[in-house]
């Protein structure tokens, strides 16, 4: 930390936040867990964008990844299983000044909180929603999640998962008013950071599915793509997620995808051309509920009390 940052001065251009201003308790995720990479990426973005830690809130549900807020030196809200999104919506509803990040897992978002997921996309309130998708319930020790692949052996399905998995990207692209839908991978810090940065800069709800491995239960699920980068389809576009040329070179299978094209986004999401990463869809004009919910925020007290009198007068006898 350097420069002026004290309680008795107004924030000045000289005020500067370092990485350590976003670092809290030592993360207690397992070694090798993808959550560590996401934490580092978010701390970097906060530092790069100079987000005041006291004006930043990380909201989460329950699960391994939902411990995320505890490791940030910002405000945090470690909520209940499945409820991260409505909690974050409430925070956002009357606080346009805050930076809001949501950490949710595949069980949290796509199973117990699936109803909230659909409506959060439709509300499109400005926040970054990170879906930590490791295809398994890790914290409760290896149960099938809604994104577990068919046949995946877990403690609840020891002979293999019986159902087909939900595809969170295809689902989100099917929800009315989706405004930013992206996918990235935990084993590629540059793409991860670039995607989350684009998400942060978007004016609306940015939904980012982060494909990650659980070192205990699903360590090998992405081996096919980690061992052979050509299995990944890198989606690039000036309006999409920008990665340096040197990074793009690592992905032999790349395509230029215009993120305003929803039909192509839905086609790519099916994965026939490879495991897609980057920005599927962006609609900066999607209606934002948080612009509606803040109406009347600055109403002066005298006007409020006059309004109450006016309403009461309607019932006067």
């Amino acid at each position: 930390m350097y420069g002026v940052k004290t309680d008795w001065f107004e924030p000045s251009p000289g005020c500067h936040y370092d990485l350590e201003d976003y670092e809290s308790l030592e993360a207690r995720w397992c070694p090798g867990c993808g959550d560590h990479a996401v934490l580092t990426a978010i701390q970097r973005i906060c530092r790069d964008e100079q987000l005041p830690p006291h004006e930043t809130v990380v909201v989460s549900g329950i699960g391994c990844s939902s411990r995320f807020p505890h490791y940030m030196k910002t405000y945090g809200f470690h909520g209940l299983h499945g409820r991260a999104l409505p909690l974050a919506e409430g925070v956002r509803s009357r606080r346009p000044d805050l930076n809001i990040f949501v950490a949710t897992g595949d069980g949290d978002c796509c199973s117990i909180g699936a109803g909230h997921w659909i409506h959060a996309i439709r509300y499109n309130m400005k926040m970054v929603v990170m879906l930590f998708d490791n295809n398994v319930y890790g914290l409760t020790k290896n149960q099938t999640s809604p994104t577990s692949s068919h046949g995946q052996r877990t403690n609840t399905h020891p002979r293999g998962a019986w159902l087909q998995p939900i595809d969170p990207i295809q689902t989100t692209l099917g929800i009315t008013n989706a405004s930013f839908v992206a996918q990235t991978i935990d084993w590629h810090p540059a793409h991860l950071t670039a995607t989350l940065r684009a998400a942060h800069k978007h004016d609306g709800l940015s939904f980012v599915r982060i494909l990650q491995r659980c070192p205990h239960y699903t360590d090998d699920i992405f081996d096919f793509a980690r061992n052979d980068a050509s299995k990944i389809l890198l989606m690039t576009h000036p309006d999409g997620v920008e990665v340096p040329a040197a990074v793009a070179k690592g992905f032999p299978n790349a395509t230029s995808h215009d993120p305003s094209n929803i039909d192509e986004a839905r086609r790519l999401a099916c994965g026939e051309d490879g495991l897609p990463i980057g920005l599927f869809y962006r609609n900066p004009d999607a209606q934002r509920y948080d612009l509606f919910s803040i109406e009347g925020l600055a109403t002066p007290r005298a006007e409020k009390i006059a309004a109450v009198r006016r309403v009461l007068d309607g019932y006067r006898v």
């Binding site: 209940l80 409505p86 919506e89 659909i118 409020k304 009390i305």
Partner: protein, 622 residues
């Protein structure tokens, strides 16, 4: 009394009038018109809506009865009373629905439209004639009147207009001036944005009814009233809750539609924006409370309004608000349960759920308004308590308060009620987010945006820094601190006032909407020399102090509640008997052998029923 012709009106202290019609014939509008004029004149009034379950039920059916009961009198009226004195029925079938409800007694005057006696459909005629014989046998004072025929002189569609004609006729019956009715008609139709032509047509109808009444009614009544010294408002309990939210400076109402609570949110949705507020209709009950909790965590004042099934769904998140010490106001407009139960009907069945219905120990404040006026003021109290004690506050109203209407003094508002929840100046870096005061359990609350106050709120066990902590001693301490807040609040409460005598043979204890009926029953019995008193609890958690001392002054203590308890019909020993909810709490708190008398009729307890309970309780002793 009706058959003695006289020029002077007969003075009476109060009357209960019901209007009942097919849905869509305007009995409710007529009733509201009549009740508003009564209230404006300074009379005491209590109205109860009679609501069919469906939006467009079949005509001439019991299930389709729609209407209103108005109890009005020279003095304040606090409840719906017993059987009706006068019922205006637009057909005999809708009257049967009131008979089924026990709303009539021998001698009740029944005004019924005589148009059915000459109806061209023989089956309708027969049904009417059979009913008229039946009504006479039941001892009603039946008065067929030409409602339809007279109305037809002024309009082609008598389904629209009959209602106002009836009000004009009743104005004559009760010797009331017509001018205030004309003013009220203009107000009602202006509010509905109808043109002058509609107002003129209704004025004609009103005058015609009045003229007919003056000419044809054999006797007239008069309820003497004195003009009210203070201006008043008239509304139902749900509107009062909504107005209370606005007056309390609450700025977010997050809700999901549920009967009978939703209308409170309707009133807010219509007017909240004028006071800078916002109604969020969430995707479900869980999201509704989560959204409110999020807003409150971010330093805004929030309420969620629901009913029993919604409370069940919100349970886990209310527990989070207790654990994270997030101020929150929760209104539970109780209906009959369990499960979907009786959606539109009254019950006081959520008390134990509100106080104890959470996994683990989850102390929180539970309040119960007992009047419509209190529905307004308790919202202000609830917000203040929620913030002072950093806790959820549950306000238990019910379907009786929600839909009953009564006048109360125009509230004196205060700008202080609208203050933001907390001082948002920078946070002292050394202060911990749960720096519990040892004596009160209260701690200062940082909110996002306050520099230096950064903390992570969690529903996991945590220490004063809000760090996850599972240590035994710490868990014990944190539980004590959250519980201590209830003790601190209790220390500031007064014992409940005792109505009647300070000591005696029987003390009735109640809570919530039953107060008016209980106190009326107590006054009636005391006038007969019975030594009965009552106490009504406003705080259910923490419990109001002084109860053991009050109970000791009475030979017997009994709660009167609208919830289930095993009565005499079930053969069970005292130990196994399932008791009413407040009785369970009082027995546990005071070790007094508190009896319970409770019923689940799906409607408010009339004073006569409580009088019966008092007589039974005292005769058991004799």
């Amino acid at each position: 009394m009706m058959d003695v012709p006289t020029t002077e009106p007969l003075e009476i202290r109060e009357h209960i009038v019901e209007f009942v019609s097919d849905s869509g014939e305007g009995a409710q509008t007529a009733g509201q018109l009549f009740a508003s004029v009564c209230a404006r004149s300074g009379a005491g009034v209590w109205t109860v809506e009679i609501i069919p379950a469906e939006i467009e039920p079949p005509v001439r059916s019991r299930a389709g009865a729609s209407g209103i009961r108005i109890r009005f009198g020279s003095e304040e009226v606090t409840n719906m009373g017993d059987e009706a004195d006068l019922v205006v029925a637009f057909n005999e079938q809708v009257l049967y629905s009131r008979i089924d409800q026990g709303a009539l007694r021998e001698g009740t005057v029944v005004v019924i439209d005589d148009v059915w006696a000459t109806h061209r459909d023989e089956s309708v005629k027969a049904a009417y004639n059979a009913a008229m014989e039946d009504f006479a046998e039941r001892g009603y004072d039946v008065r067929p009147m030409p409602l339809d025929k007279e109305t037809a002189k002024l309009t082609e569609n008598t389904r629209r207009g009959k209602n106002v004609w009836v009000v004009g006729m009743l104005a004559a019956w009760y010797s009331m001036d017509l001018a205030p009715f004309e003013d009220e008609v203009a107000r009602i139709f202006n509010r509905k944005r109808k043109g002058q032509a509609v107002i003129d047509a209704n004025h004609k109808m009103l005058r015609a009814g009045h003229a007919w009444g003056q000419k044809n009614l054999p006797v007239r009544l008069r309820v003497p009233v004195e003009a009210a010294p203070k201006p008043k408002v008239v509304m139902n309990g749900n509107t009062a809750v909504a107005m209370g939210c606005m007056a309390a400076g609450i700025e977010v109402c997050s809700m999901y539609p549920i009967t009978p609570a939703t209308s409170a949110s309707h009133y807010l949705a219509a007017a909240f924006d004028q006071a800078g507020g916002f109604v969020h209709q969430a995707e479900d009950e869980i999201a509704a409370v989560a959204f409110a909790i999020g807003a409150s965590y971010a330093g805004k004042t929030a309420v969620t309004i629901t009913s029993g099934p919604g409370m069940a769904l919100k349970t886990e998140l209310i527990g989070l608000a207790v654990m994270g010490e997030i101020p929150l106001v929760i209104v539970d407009v109780q209906r009959g349960g369990p499960s979907t139960g009786l959606p539109t009907k009254v019950e006081q069945g959520d008390l134990l759920h509100a106080v104890y219905g959470h996994p683990g120990d989850a102390p929180k404040v539970v309040l119960a308004p007992s009047t419509i006026e209190e529905c307004f003021h308790y919202m202000v109290t609830a917000r203040k308590l929620a913030e002072t004690f950093r806790t959820p506050v549950i306000v238990l109203t019910d379907a009786n308060l929600a839909t009953g209407q009564a006048p109360f003094d125009y509230p004196e508002l205060s700008e202080d009620w609208l203050s933001p929840p907390i001082d948002q100046s920078p946070w002292s870096g050394s202060t911990r987010p749960y720096e519990w005061d040892d004596k009160t359990g209260i701690s200062p609350r940082p909110i996002p945006g306050q520099e230096g106050g950064q903390f992570v709120l969690t529903g996991l066990a945590h220490n004063e820094k809000s760090h996850i902590a599972y240590e035994s001693a710490l868990n014990q301490h944190a539980m004590e601190m959250r519980s201590r807040k209830m003790a601190a609040l209790r220390a500031s409460l007064k014992p409940p006032p005792v109505v009647g005598g300070d000591d005696g043979d029987l003390l009735i204890v109640g809570w919530g909407s039953t107060r008016g009926a209980i106190e009326e029953a107590v006054h009636t019995m005391r006038a007969e020399g019975v030594k009965v008193s009552s106490a009504h609890l406003r705080f259910l958690a923490p419990m109001e102090p002084g109860l053991t001392e009050i109970f000791a002054r009475f030979g017997k203590v009994m709660t009167v509640e609208i919830n289930y308890s095993d009565g005499d019909a079930i053969d069970i020993d005292q130990e196994g008997r399932r008791r009413s909810q407040l009785a369970i709490m009082l027995r546990s708190a005071t070790l007094v052998d508190v009896e319970s008398w409770s019923r689940v009729p799906g409607q408010p307890l009339p004073p006569s029923m409580i009088i019966g309970a008092i007589r039974d309780a005292l005769s058991e002793d004799a």
